[in-house]
Symmetry: D2
Subunit: 199 residues, 4 copies
């Protein structure tokens, strides 16, 4: 099985990214369940505004979309700004909106059977709400959400420490990441064997 | 398999309830997949404020909780007030928070393997956001969210027509309900056969 | 001028309440600007489900409503459960929904000219989103939101320390509370002198 | 007084935009209160990802920022995608995050005294939640939210009619726009005369 992590940081490569650190930890945890992983930092690409699968011109979403459709598990990883997901994550969701009108020969969205999980970091507050928004958008377009599908870290209110600058990964974050990975790998496996019915 | 619908209307029995109508339509659609269903109107019971599985005294949540734990599929049905879920739905989520500390002999929450879906009605605006909030809270405590797990109806902005007063069920709502039921029944079935791994 | 704080904790009196502590700090800060304050712990009262100003029977919302209408500043104080405001806070908002149909002799809601602010506590994550929800609901029914109208505290992700158990009030929280109070008192004062126009 | 409308459509000029139509209606309504208005369609500009006031290079946010700081009233106008504000609106909020560290000689954010309102359109569902998110983010960085500060239109659930294709402006939308404009103009005027106190 394969996982694709979308790193939705606002920081272009090679800048440091707390989101990348947490997303990589998710991929590492998935690897323990036999899932191979790769990551793309969306801000390095030209993801055109719009709600079609291909907006034409220099739009690079189509290559990202191909990798999503190749994957069994999508890891949506985002920083927290003003308590909300990044505009880069929001852009990715808008582009996934096109999947509502893309179906297989049996009328199912191409995303049916794929599993989506969330990874959220911020120096403060926002993870519950962002995971809510991610679940809704990704579920609407056809992804299944495994039990306890988010790992996250937020610092104490109004502080400015970044996840990537912590001395070590907090135990509770590591535990959440491990549970997420076990559940996502399990669910993607069973859905591969037993596809949703045709509509 | 069994489904339990929590009708989170603010209206006590025997008052009419749009939420009940949509929840019943979900149960009817699940029945077509061999799932037996029952419904409880929470506002008719005394659901105490708090975050324990049993708040003592005249608290009636423990009987609701038993029925949730007996079910394979939880249907959380809520009206929309001020763009948000009802306080009755919020109360139910708070009580489910206790499940985070209730685990089986292998360390898994008792909700693992259960599937949750949402049904949202309102004379206007709110369903996407409410389904987001429901998914997050229910997923946090261990439920799995099948693909396209919400059916909903909202009227045009700032209008006052109720779902129960429509001449007929809109086709798009009926289609969403059917998809939700097929996916929920399928996923609950496969998770019954293949439980999430112990942690 | 007068302020009323609604403490929306789930804990009945005389139980300890972090929400009460933060709400009292807001009232104390408002007092420095000549605003007298009082607080009500809603969970101690019978606030009936529904969306009318008076649901009849033993409903105690009408007395709360009178105190809201007597106040210049409303302080909505809530704990955080599952990343969301409490069901008690949600219930208060539902009851305020009735104000949309209560207007003065010039067609303005009785809430026009009143100022609303938020106080949010939780051992983790949720304050931004809860303040968003509170602003929207309170603004919809006619309250004005002063600049930087929230004070809040959340601990580090997935930790369990309560605000009331901190050794001292964090400086950043104290600063946010002071700014909120200065702005709320100022804005309530100017709106008292210069009412919104009749519609 | 001056108003600036940020049109956060995903559609580049000269494509049709429901968001532009509603934003223009807000500006027209403000003009009746003596407020001059202008609009910028952000997707036509290069608004760099990041959270600084100027991200350098070809970033065009600084010119937008100058116009925001020149205005008394900010109209944030956004379409609804997947129940959420557009990524273009989210990007604008991220850039406004920089205002938290920009203060005048008395320690106040440069946004203090400015008023913000919201205009939201979508062929379905999302306006309450989007106005919540806009209020929170704009209020956090220093804007004041006048009573009933949103005008919006959403069609019936799961339909696809656009606001710009309606035969006429619904009466309820026109009324909401008029109230918003009267309140925003009034509040911006009184805050101009009576600035928030220095901190």
């Amino acid at each position: 099985m394969r996982a694709l992590a979308l790193n939705c940081t606002l920081t272009a490569s090679p800048g440091g990214s707390s989101t990348e650190l947490l997303a990589q930890q998710v991929l590492d945890a998935l690897a323990e369940h036999g899932v191979s992983g790769e990551m793309v930092r969306l801000v390095d690409l030209n993801i055109a505004p719009g709600v079609k699968a291909d907006m034409g011109g220099s739009d690079q979403w189509p290559t990202v979309r191909d990798r999503i459709l190749d994957a069994d598990i999508l890891v949506l990883a985002t920083p927290t700004w003003m308590g909300q997901m990044s505009s880069v994550a929001q852009r990715a969701l808008e582009r996934l909106d096109a999947e509502l009108s893309e179906t297989d020969s049996e009328g199912r969205p191409l995303t049916f059977g794929k599993v989506a999980v969330a990874a959220v970091v911020g120096n403060e507050d926002g993870a519950h709400r962002i995971s809510a928004d991610l679940y809704q958008a990704l579920n609407d377009v056809g992804f299944t959400i495994p039990a306890q599908a988010v790992t996250y870290w937020n610092g104490e209110a109004m502080h400015t420490v970044d996840y990537k600058d912590l001395d070590s990964t907090p135990d509770k974050v590591a535990t959440a990441t491990a549970t997420l990975a076990a559940n996502a790998a399990h669910l993607a496996g069973v859905l591969r064997e037993a596809a949703y019915p045709a509509s």
